[in-house]
């Protein structure tokens, strides 16, 4: 398949996943639309073009892994897993309801395809380090992907893990920073600024790239570049828009966690092409 075909396919899938996100949050009556829409393209690229996985065998030992460090964005991953065939689409509206396989934040024991429990911010790179080191010990060659938010880079453990990942030269660890510039309480630069972010990771010895996190060609190219530098861990700073794809949610932090009304849901679906 030509790369342009792949990109076109991913764009279609990402629109579907955005529809799933807003619909499940609307139907379930709870969830985080802004953060989920922000990383929807990264998640789509990973599950539908990058990661080698087997939905029929979620525990396959050689599979690539994803840790969603920003666990509150799990509607994006739940939608991708359902679309990939890990479980039935009818599970999606059960999000956050009693007895559901879809917990408020990812639970590796309850949801097929979730590689690691997450939701408490800052821990994904550290867990990813362990999973990447396990590949070495077990003689396997999978890649470990982590999606962190930008705000959670304020957690100290992020930098503990960044230091150790370089020390152990885990080239099979690839981290995306979903850099939308907004955290729960407001703009990251106003709360506790992250900039300059690239020199920080470079100083920790990581391979760094900055991309448009909504451009599939850039996402795929960045991952290919990261894989081509096998001796050190890679970070891909993905510039994103919180709430991307739905006009009235984009860059509006009131939608960090909010449920759409029926009218808002219908408008969102219309903007996302039905």
């Amino acid at each position: 398949m030509m790369i342009s075909d792949t990109v076109s396919h991913l764009e279609t899938m990402a629109r579907q996943i955005r529809r799933d996100i807003i619909t499940m949050i609307y139907q379930a009556g709870d969830g985080h639309p802004g953060p989920s829409l922000s990383c929807a393209d990264l998640v789509t690229a990973l599950y539908f073009a990058i990661m080698e996985v087997d939905p029929a065998n979620p525990q396959w030992s050689r599979r690539d892994r994803l840790i969603l460090s920003k666990g509150h964005a799990c509607p994006a991953v739940y939608a991708a897993l359902a679309r990939k065939g890990y479980f039935d689409l009818s599970e999606l509206p059960q999000l956050r309801t009693l007895g559901s396989i879809l917990q408020g934040h990812p639970d590796m024991l309850k949801t097929p395809g979730i590689d690691f429990t997450s939701g408490s911010l800052g821990n994904g790179i550290s867990v990813g380090l362990g999973i990447a080191l396990a590949a070495r010990i077990n003689g396997l060659h999978y890649h470990t992907y982590v999606i962190t938010g930008d705000g959670e880079l304020q957690e100290g453990i992020i930098w503990e893990a960044a230091m150790a990942a370089k020390h152990y030269q885990v080239g099979n660890l690839i981290v995306f920073v979903d850099y939308n510039g907004i955290q729960s309480g407001g703009r990251t630069e106003e709360i506790s600024g992250l900039e300059p972010i690239v020199p920080k990771f470079e100083a920790f010895g990581w391979h760094c790239q900055v991309i448009d996190g909504h451009n599939f060609t850039e996402i795929l190219t960045a991952v290919a570049n990261a894989k081509a530098t096998p001796a050190i861990p890679s970070v891909i700073i993905a510039n994103t828009i919180k709430g991307k794809g739905i006009s009235f949610i984009e860059n509006n932090n009131a939608w960090h966690k909010r449920v759409p009304t029926k009218a808002e849901w219908e408008q969102a679906l219309q903007e996302l092409g039905g």
């Binding site: 030992s61 639970d107 590796m108 024991l109 590689d115 690691f116 429990t117 939701g119 408490s120 821990n123 550290s126 867990v127 990813g128 380090l129 362990g130 999973i131 990447a132 080191l133 396990a134 590949a135 070495r136 010990i137 077990n138 100290g156 453990i157 503990e160 893990a161 230091m163 150790a164 020390h167 152990y168």
Partner: protein
Amino acid sequence: MIKYANTRVAFIDSLAELADKNPKIVLVCSDSSKVIRADGFKAAFPDRFIDVGIAEQNAVACAAGLASCGLIPVVATYAGFITMRACEQVRTFVAYPFLNVKMVGANGGIGAGEREGVTHQFFEDLGILRTIPGITIVVPADASQVSKAVEAVVNVPGPVYLRIGSGRDPVVLDSDLPFELGKIRHLQVFGDDVAILANGHTIPRALAAAKRLYNSGIKAAVVEVHTLRPLDTEGIVAILEKTGAAVTVEDHNIIGGLGSAIAEVIAEKVPVPLARVGLRDLFPESGEAEKLMDAYGLSVDDICNACRQVLARKEGRSA
């Protein structure tokens, strides 16, 4: 004369022996390789030794990642740095996904932290972990028990916490005694006037107290409770039904640890008078182990007095 043997060496030697047979065992340190005497392990298994530096949260979360791929990581450092510094990683990323991470905490209790002072004396570890679901919690009596307990816990699925000492740890039990996870052990039974339930390096004090009480006509039963989870509720109820009075002895805050665990059993199953001997909800200070324990409420006299007090309550008179 007290004999000493090193619980840290006992742990690492036992782990190395197991690692030789089991390629899934990985040791994870946070600049704690000297603390737990890991040089030999590191030399023997360089590919299964990970030191993330002075970063306990990272050590525990990284171990959780390793465990999710079928390995058996053993995180070993000072007790408080696992259970307090990395408490949330233990709770959310090890216990909640029920991962096969083994955690070994040194300097458990003031007797083990002794001269280091409060920053390195850990007497809250057991209470903290008892509130987190699913973690097996073990306080072995001494070095030979640690050796056997390590093998037992490596073979138990899911998260485990094993408390060890300073490296200068009293020999408490006959080295031939087995270790049976999840079971209490009757160490010395003079009679059924009162049960003294103890663990770790407080056991010699409990035994000395029982002997002294015997000489004054009080017949105590000394019981070791080395596993706080799963707690041997049945065994504890059986002994307390016989004695009708209980004293707990632990090198831990009297809140949260053995004393609390026994109090819970007593309140729900077998209401008998109880006195808890341990640290009385305060911060201690630096000092030599035996003197420190004497000074902070863990003396043989303190145990004897506690026994007399519960006996008086059992018999409905004032002590």
